[in-house]
Symmetry: C2
Subunit: 377 residues, 2 copies
């Protein structure tokens, strides 16, 4: 292996722990910096985003605004009612951070690994909220020359999710998509991706500024769920696009049911109802996020051909197969500054990530707000 | 064709109409009795059940306790909020009655039809709430000698649904079933069918009498949702049976979500959680009835591998194919007094079916209560 003079022997890493007495503790620890062997790379992590999927591990069921600082750690209580769901984690310190990017500063003896020293790479797979991370060369996406770690930090979760949504649509025989929280980074990618693919997309947003932003990207069907004629506009947009598959980032509340109701009304414009069982058009909402932790409330004004369920990227990638995933990754790298570009509203350090005020801020998951951790800044 | 001296030229039939002014009207009309030709049979309908699926057509969204009698008809208002869902029916008088049984009193010239004169047959397909019905010979199930029309009246909807549930379980790779409103006629069939098939079944009921009834049939996993330890018992029963597919007749309220939560807890006994995404065990609830018209409220304590959706018999039968359906029907006929036996708590006439008090009674859909219409009694 080739050691770099710039790698220290110890460096900092963030851990999340459910304590035995029912609290959630975030702390920074000095951990040994590993030495890469074989096809391994030692990457100095320069940028790693806080995705909603990271928040689930980071904060578990703790009250995000209830943190207090204790030295190099912060603690918040977990509500009694949630503890049986967090019990399995109790006493285990979990690393956090699903993806990130940085510079390869050392590599094992494998020539393919050696060839990457000095390159900026992105990867996924956990424990990116750290100053250094050991990765295998073939798990890394080499970013095009000139693309920074900050630009490439979100090369996996959102881009592959957007591609997975379009792939799921094709696999399940639908002809268009509905997307909620559609002004998110992921939602903006989906607008650009569906345009490139010729896939009709209905974007559901929660205010006029978000609608304007998406229309500025070229989105044609944008519906604001806070306007009085939301349902009428949604029915019209679905009738025009024939989008009977929705991906919902919100999860809780009435929106998933409203989407099914609008799909049914749109379907009934072109086909008769099958007696009391509604249209014969299958209508599906996949919940892939939980921006709302309210229960999901689903009515029954949409017949019997419907489904609501969870959707996760990992099983999709497993079923897509290695070659398809390789094509998806190559496309992300090539379009990281266009289709798959991310924007961040705040850049913070690892120390910042465990400050109570900052935790409360990034935990709000407001659409359009996204935090980037710079562990070596 | 062979005409029978016993067939009149006019006979009574029940119709359900959504009126232009927003009411639901049930009425009995004299309609011409048709003359069978070719492979057609004229059947004197002697018994036809009121299934929940019939109630949906019969009463639509009308208030079941709001009927008033007007001569040979009865009317009840449809709530304003429901009218846009009933508008498609307005002005159309719909025949009602999904299945029934009776005696073949005339047949077309086709020898296969002629051979059935005098036989007791059962069939499905609509407009059984009538004194006479025209059917094609090959759509009829010839009941075994000695089986009465009342015994064979429910040969299609419930028996094929029970068989379809077991078939869906096998097709989708599950190893056991959860069933709600499990003391219904259908639920009792499912207890007997799953015993014969060696399929583990978890029965959810709503009182001790229902639990006793099912245990009397040999059910081993019976859970009462009104007891304080319902969730604990449900988790234990699912852990023992590995039943990760549920068929829910209730639809509204919290039960579907509780079943998913219990399935997840049962799955976590034998496998670790996949981080915040829960177990990798897929968990599915199919809603096939709407005994509750409340919204379905689904929590989010069961990871991301889950689905809730509608299930209908007709698409299942279409996908099963003609040969499989023929096998299912033959089995129903052979076991109509055992596995697929039905019980009725009241027998009424067509006149009785449009009496306001009787409508309010059969519309309650209480588990274990089932009405049989005898149109020629």
């Amino acid at each position: 292996m080739t050691d770099s003079a710039s790698a220290p022997t110890q460096a900092r890493q963030l851990f999340s722990t459910v304590t035995q007495d029912g609290a959630l503790e975030l702390d920074l620890r000095d951990v040994p910096v590993p030495t890469p062997t074989g096809d391994q790379l030692l990457v100095r992590v320069e940028a790693t985003p806080i995705n909603p999927s990271d928040l689930a591990v980071l904060l578990s069921a703790a009250d995000p605004s209830g943190f207090t600082a204790f030295g190099a750690s912060a603690r918040s209580p977990i509500p009694e009612a949630a503890r049986r769901f967090t019990a399995a984690r109790a006493g285990h310190s979990l690393p956090v951070g699903n993806e990130g990017a940085g510079t390869v500063i050392a590599a094992g003896e494998d020539p393919a690994a050696q060839a990457l020293i000095g390159k900026t790479v992105a990867a996924a797979g956990g424990s990116f909220y750290a100053q250094y991370k050991l990765l295998r060369a073939h798990d890394c996406l080499v970013l095009p020359d000139g693309v920074s770690a900050a630009e490439g930090a979100s090369s996996f979760v959102n881009p592959l999710t957007a591609l997975g949504m379009v792939g799921t649509m094709r696999r399940e025989g639908y002809r268009g998509l509905v997307h909620t929280a559609a002004a998110s980074n992921l939602g903006q990618m989906l607008v650009k991706l569906t345009q490139a693919e010729g896939v009709p997309l209905v974007c559901i947003v929660r205010n006029q500024a978000q609608a304007d932003l998406l229309r500025g990207l070229g989105a044609t069907h944008v519906v604001d769920s806070t306007t009085p004629d939301f349902m009428g506009q949604l029915i019209e947009a679905i009738a025009q696009t024939q989008a009977f598959l929705a991906f919902d980032a919100i999860g809780g509340g009435k929106l998933a049911g409203q989407i099914l109701t609008a799909m049914e009304q749109a379907a009934l414009r072109t086909q008769p109802a099958n007696g009391p069982y509604g249209s014969s058009q299958m209508k599906q909402v996949y919940i892939y996020g939980r921006l709302s932790t309210e229960p999901t409330e689903i009515g029954h004004n949409f017949g019997m051909k419907w489904g609501v369920g969870g959707w996760l990227l990992t099983p999709y990638l497993q079923s897509a197969g290695i070659e398809e995933v390789a094509r998806m990754r190559a496309r992300v790298a090539a379009e990281i500054r266009t289709t798959f570009a991310s924007a961040y509203t705040a850049r913070i350090t690892l120390d910042g990530a465990i400050q109570p005020d900052t935790i409360a801020a990034y935990a709000r998951r407001a659409t359009g707000e996204k935090y980037l951790i710079m562990p070596n800044a």
